[in-house]
């Protein structure tokens, strides 16, 4: 007798192979098994205006959002086909008046539910109702460790103060808490204090996530891109904290891939272990996928089942596996390690999603992109373009985060 626990984690530094173990155990799922976790972007509405928002630049309007009944049908279907976890995200998911009802429905159909929130719209009563509805985990985004920087990045006054309050309620209600800190040149100097803040808030996990540069973040790259020196310091701080806080705070660290040598295995590989559903019901291989023009994405409002869309739709199959690859990916020994990096980034920076992600040193564009990032970071232009439905609004007044 030797009991073992195989970590089929879809987390941490390598968000890979959550499925490998389960597929090996005789999954009924076919070539591309149904993902373990799905991201439900309930709305693109959000009171924050973070300049690195992962939502597309073309936001879905409130009127196009799936209805309560449509989302409930989606949740039921996801549970039936083998999805185990649902991440309620946005925009700001608590901007939906039916969130408690959706969480309760997720619990009823057996889904493990996670709320990814900015927290600023939550009351203690609302959070308590969500806990009662079976919510399993809360992730709150922080833009800094104090209001001056944090509220500037969020583009909302008193946001930071509110987040701290909600984080405390979360722990009082005995809900596990992840602090998500998106890092960039304007707040990296606060990282040691953000780590202490996470400990002080009694968080279980801290995500130190460097900005990924597509969509809104690409628009704001000049204001956000860290310097190489900042990155080296960041890695040192994270490594030191991981050792010091072992058993107290788990830290997941996402490096900015402009400064990496190898591209990230984005989404664990296109159409391989993840999909998300947009506010209007599109089933997407990643939350930025709509930025790739020329791809048609199927909707849950179509006549197709979600499983059919996952397995058969053209958009999911276009960049699946390795068959679509050109050189240098095609003959690369790492092609099944990183699957050529990020398709959205390849599209944004080279105009062709089928090219190697320029984050890879083997990409002919890597050198150029790296130099551009370094020069943008050095130029130190700090004005944000805030995220909103109007296509973005430049920051006004003040000295920008000097």
């Amino acid at each position: 007798m030797s009991p073992t626990l195989t970590d089929a984690g879809v987390a941490a530094s390598d968000p890979s192979d959550g499925l490998a173990v389960l597929e090996a155990r005789g999954s009924t799922a076919e070539a591309f098994g149904i993902p373990l976790a799905v991201l439900a972007e309930l709305t693109h509405r959000c009171p924050l205006q973070c300049p690195y928002c992962s939502n597309p630049v073309e936001l879905d309007r409130g009127g196009s959002e799936l209805t309560t009944e449509e989302w409930k049908k989606v949740l039921t279907e996801l549970a039936q086909i083998g999805v185990l976890q649902i991440h309620f995200s946005g925009g700001e998911p608590t901007a939906r008046k039916d969130l408690v009802e959706l969480v309760r429905h997720a619990s009823d159909v057996g889904l493990y539910s996670n709320l990814i929130t900015s927290a600023v719209l939550l009351t203690r009563e609302k959070l308590s109702a969500l806990a009662d509805a079976g919510l399993c985990h809360v992730q709150i985004s922080f833009q800094g460790n104090e209001p001056m920087v944090a509220d500037r990045v969020a583009g909302l006054k008193k946001a930071h103060e509110k987040k701290i309050e909600v984080a405390r309620w979360t722990r009082e209600l005995d809900l596990p808490l992840t602090v998500n800190a998106v890092m960039h040149r304007q707040n990296l100097h606060q990282l040691p204090d953000i780590i202490e803040m996470a400990v002080d808030l009694d968080a279980d996990r801290l995500e130190v996530a460097n900005v990924q540069y597509y969509g809104w973040a690409l628009k704001n790259r000049a204001a956000l891109m860290p310097t190489l020196e900042q990155m080296e310091e960041t890695s040192r701080i994270v490594e030191e904290a991981e050792v010091r806080l072992k058993g107290v705070l788990a830290i997941d660290y996402v490096v900015p891939d402009y400064y990496a040598l190898r591209p990230k295995k984005c989404m664990g590989g296109w159409g391989r272990q993840f999909f998300n559903i947009s506010p209007a019901g599109k089933v997407l291989p990643c939350h930025a996928a709509e930025s790739i023009t020329g791809l048609e994405f199927e909707s849950v409002r179509s006549n197709h089942s979600i499983a059919w869309i996952w397995q058969n739709s053209e958009a999911f199959n276009r960049y699946r596996g390795t068959g679509w690859m050109k050189e240098p990916c095609k003959s690369c020994e790492f092609r099944e390690i990183d699957f050529g990096g990020c398709r959205c980034q390849a599209f944004a920076l080279t105009g062709d999603a089928g090219n190697t992600d320029p984050a890879c040193t083997l990409s002919p564009m890597h050198e150029q992109i790296f130099k551009l990032a370094a020069s943008e970071a050095a130029a130190d232009r700090n004005q944000f373009i805030y995220r909103n439905f109007a296509g973005g609004t430049p920051e006004t007044g003040g000295d920008h985060g000097a």
Binding site: M1, S2, P3, T4, L5, T6, D7, A8, G9, V10, A11, A12, G18, V21, L22, E23, R25, G26, S27, T28, A29, G33, I34, L36, A37, I81, G82, L84, Q85, G110, Y112, N114, C136, H137, Q139, D174, L175, P176, T178, E196, V199, D200, D202, D204, R205, L245, G247, V248, L249, A250, D252
Partner: protein
């Protein structure tokens, strides 16, 4: 600076372990396996681990579990105790096991 609270437990025969709220043991009908669902993770415990985890109700002590399993499998108690504690400690170290405790105010 806040005093870091070590949330990990040290598993012994007197521990009364239980899965915390954020770790759910569940049978995955689609894949026909037991899983532990946790934030951003899915763990796949084997059959014996599942049997042990089903005994983790926050009331039973590890010693009781070991007695029960030793009787059921007619196995040497000491060997079972070693394996069970190692497995539970592994889970505790990952943050997916807690100890039941009296609520104090």
């Amino acid at each position: 600076m806040a005093t870091p609270r070590n949330r990990n437990i040290s598993v012994s025969e007197t521990s009364r372990p239980v899965l915390p709220r954020h770790a759910r043991l569940k049978f995955d009908e689609t894949r026909q396996v037991w899983v532990i669902l946790a934030p951003e993770r899915v763990l796949a415990p084997d059959e014996i681990a599942v049997e042990v985890l089903q005994l983790c109700d926050g009331v039973r002590s590890v010693a009781d579990m070991v007695d029960q399993l030793a009787a059921k499998y007619a196995a040497e108690r000491e060997a079972i105790a070693t394996d069970v504690i190692a497995m539970l400690q592994d889970l505790a170290d990952k943050g997916f096991l807690t100890e039941s405790r009296e609520k104090t105010s």
